[in-house]
């Protein structure tokens, strides 16, 4: 039931922004080919990298990226930051229906630490990446994604978990 009734965001955003007076609808990324890489080793031996669009920040520290920064390049925070010191700066989420007050509902640091403790995965990378939801797909693909790939390679990550907020 829930499967059949999921929200059509592509249609909804088109209608919404048309109503706001924007005449050119946003062209959501679309590719015919989907890449695929099988795991090279058992999951229990894999080091996991975490990437999110949830614009995390640490309480009491400076804002990681200035609010008016047009580039909004990716940035990284330590994975061992206590979850109660983290919060999200993201403005674009359904703030009427849900909340970003529980970090683990969109950045599952505690859940992944549990998976390490259970031996389900080998380890969590020492830092997690924050990628902004960019308007420009060229920016995401050509500039942001390669930087994140480079960081995962430096951290010898075997598999990546990505959360879209």
């Amino acid at each position: 039931m829930s499967d059949a009734s999921h929200v059509r965001y592509i249609d909804k955003t088109r209608e919404y922004y048309q109503g706001e007076g924007y005449d050119r609808p946003y062209r959501w990324a679309h590719f015919d080919h989907i890449p695929f890489t099988p795991l090279a080793r058992p999951l229990a031996e894999c080091r996991v990298g975490l990437i999110t669009t949830s614009e995390m920040a640490i309480r009491g520290a400076d804002r990681p990226v200035p609010e008016d920064d047009p580039l909004r390049d990716p940035y990284w925070l330590p994975s061992d930051t206590p979850v109660d010191r983290l919060y999200s700066l993201k403005a674009a989420y359904d703030r009427y229906a849900t909340t970003l007050d529980d970090v683990d509902a969109y950045l599952p640091l505690t859940r992944l630490r549990e998976a390490v403790a259970e031996g389900r995965i080998a380890a969590l990378a020492p830092r997690f990446a924050i990628a902004f939801s960019q308007y420009s797909q060229r920016k995401t693909l050509g500039l942001d994604a390669p930087k994140i790939l480079e960081s995962l390679r430096e951290d010898r990550v075997d598999v990546a978990v990505l959360t879209a907020v």
């Binding site: 929200v7 609010e67 403005a91 989420y93 229906a97 509902a105 859940r111 500039l143």
Partner: protein
């Protein structure tokens, strides 16, 4: 997020994406996707429901070795408490960004175009 997942996968790192916008993620096309039919902002389960989050994150971890080919979507078997959010999101009554956030977004978009013009992005 889908574009980053695709890039990593193209370069040899297996990925799993957790998200709530099924049509957008599947339109882009990602290798492994855990769809959570919840409001945008809760892709790993209900806030403060650790048991549900554990189950959903576990589905994604299982999917990493289990998926045999690209474009594999699994759906988290949970429903939000009330269903009215689906009809109301992205409406005048519940705009996605408030006015201040919309203004900042438009300013940043223009500033990015300006930076691009000068060749530094």
């Amino acid at each position: 997020m889908s574009l980053v997942a695709r890039h990593l996968e193209e370069h040899g790192i297996p990925t799993v994406v957790f998200g709530c916008a099924r049509d957008i993620v599947e339109h882009a096309g990602v290798p492994r996707f855990v769809f959570c039919d919840f409001p945008l902002g809760s892709p790993c389960g209900k806030p403060f429901d650790a048991v549900m989050q554990r189950a959903i994150v576990g589905m994604g971890l299982d999917l990493l070795p289990r998926a045999t080919g690209p474009g594999t979507t699994v759906t988290a078997p949970y429903a939000w408490d009330e269903d009215t959010w689906k009809a109301k999101c992205f409406t005048k009554e519940r705009p996605f960004l408030d006015e201040a956030a919309t203004t900042r977004w438009l300013e940043r978009k223009q500033a990015y175009r300006d930076v691009k013009q000068t060749g530094s992005a």
